[in-house]
């Protein structure tokens, strides 16, 4: 048997590894993706808007159960209690030379009942073209604070692991007094390139029914399709990058029947009308980096969104997970969001636009929002982790990048408090 000179180093490693892998029982059969461990998450979240507006109390739970070597099942449940006031439409404010500020009269409000500030007989609207008075801003008319609803939702997700492929199937439903949603999802994940890359394809369908409380014998449907193409890539031993491209197609009743628009020409508030289809694209990039020095993880997410309602949006979010020792972690977080306004959005309208689509919903206006939060987590035992967090959100029409800064009357903020427990057992 001839002894060859030791060959190329690369070949040596390949040859040895190949011969080693031929040894029986050397590498586990289950080297690929495996079911998640058994764990239970339960959390209480409190959402509160400023100025005594909306409040949401939410109880959430998520249970992950491995079923044998190739399956795991996730069961999620949530119960939201929603109460408080929300804006219905915007009344222009008329400022006159004599210093008076007049809100124009509202002749009729279809749909939800609004409360205007003016009591007694409504003032006549002064002439706007005479030069003495002009429209200067607007103010929101609120749906009164007796509004209450409870949302109950549950869903399951089943993952099937086979080699380097994972198939997921999920379905669930969500129930409110006026809104029912049934949904399902399918996804396929493939690990490639020695598990350095993961390719994901996903599809989701939601079928919703709206039966607004302010209308009788009225029910409308909406269908939403979502498609996802994602790639997760290990860039180095401390770097991970994910890019997701999603496309959403919503069809059906996309109008919010509780929202009105105010028409200056007729002094009337009428129900808004939105297009019956919407296409939305999102490009999300998430980057995670581990810092060996402080043993901390940096997360950086950027999302660009675009929809055929004319809205484009940027979302930039970052958080930092800093271990403090003895099982404590501190997680500061910062988020910036900016959106342009929808093509059919105006704070109020002179008259109904010809294309038949109009909304004064503050969520379709151009604005920006900055939120910041802090979270403290403590690994209490090997099995249990407790999280406590707070996040402040500040919406300002002039924080936006897209330049539609005229909805400052709709500026507000909210705070989210969270308390949750993670159990691995």
């Amino acid at each position: 048997m001839a002894v060859t000179d030791h060959g190329l180093p690369g070949r040596t490693l390949t040859a040895l590894t190949g011969a080693a892998l031929a040894l029986p029982g050397l590498v586990p059969d289950s080297q690929a993706a495996t079911p998640t461990e058994r764990q239970w998450d339960v959390g209480y979240f409190y959402y509160e808007e400023g100025d005594d507006r909306m409040r949401v109390e939410s109880l959430k739970q998520s249970l992950v159960l491995p079923l044998g070597d190739q399956l795991d099942l996730t069961l999620n449940g949530v119960r939201d209690s929603i109460s408080g006031a929300s804006p219905i439409y915007n009344l222009p404010e008329i400022r006159c030379r004599d210093g008076s500020v007049i809100t124009p009269p509202v002749i009729s409000v279809s749909g939800a009942s609004g409360t205007t500030a003016a009591g007694g007989p409504r003032p006549e609207r002064p002439a706007l073209n005479a030069g003495d008075c002009r429209i200067d801003g607007a103010r929101q008319v609120m749906l009164d604070g007796t509004f209450q609803d409870v949302r109950t939702a549950g869903d399951f997700k089943l993952n099937y692991y086979r080699g380097e492929t994972t198939l997921g199937f999920g379905a669930g439903l969500s129930r409110e007094k006026d809104y029912d949603s049934n949904f399902m999802s399918l996804d396929w994940r493939q690990e490639l390139n020695d598990k350095l890359s993961t390719l994901t394809l996903g599809y989701g369908l939601a079928s919703d029914t709206f039966t607004p409380l302010n209308k009788t014998n009225f029910s409308e449907d909406k269908e939403s399709h979502q498609f996802l193409l994602g790639l997760t890539q290990v860039l180095g031993k401390n770097d991970l990058l994910q890019t997701n491209l999603t496309f959403g197609y919503d069809q059906g009743y996309l109008t919010d029947p509780y929202k009105n628009v105010y028409l200056l020409s007729t002094n009337a508030a009428v129900e808004e009308v939105r297009p019956d289809a919407r296409r939305q694209w999102n490009l999300l990039t998430r980057y995670v980096h581990y810092f060996d020095g402080p043993k901390a993880a940096l997360h950086l997410d950027y999302r660009y969104s675009m929809s055929d309602w004319g809205i484009d949006a940027h979302t930039l979010e970052t958080f930092w997970i800093q271990p403090l020792g003895q099982g404590w972690q501190l997680v500061p977080r910062l988020r910036y969001y900016s959106q342009g306004e929808a093509d059919f959005y105006r704070s109020y309208f002179e008259s109904l636009p010809a294309n038949g689509h109009y909304s004064s919903d503050y969520r379709l206006a151009g604005f920006g929002a900055i939120s910041g939060g802090l979270k403290l987590t403590k690994q209490v035992t090997d099995q249990a982790r407790l999280d406590l967090g707070v996040e402040f959100y500040d919406r300002q029409s002039d924080y936006g990048l897209q330049g539609h800064a005229d909805s400052d009357f709709a500026d507000y903020g909210f705070t989210i408090y969270s308390l949750s427990l993670n159990l691995k057992f």
Partner: protein, 76 residues
């Protein structure tokens, strides 16, 4: 403290295109220790993320991108 180079502040943003542009170093299984840490998961706090995403979805006009699934409104 004086920040001598204002560009330094933009570093996290510049990393993204720089990293995607360059060749990816193969990372062997035994070098993926840090990547396996829970805080390196793309979504380390899924329960909280679910609530936050729902809050933002209810108050902003765009949603989605992070995954597939979910439904319901509660969006006044």
């Amino acid at each position: 403290m004086i920040i001598r180079n204002p560009l330094m502040m933009c570093c996290p943003l510049l990393i993204l295109p720089a990293l995607t542009g360059c060749a990816i170093q193969p990372v062997a299984a035994w070098e993926r220790g840090n990547l396996a840490r829970p805080e390196m998961a793309l979504e380390p706090y899924p329960l909280e993320a679910g609530f936050r995403q729902h809050a933002f979805f209810s108050k902003e006009s765009v949603s989605g991108g992070y995954g597939i699934g979910g439904g319901g409104c509660g969006c006044n």
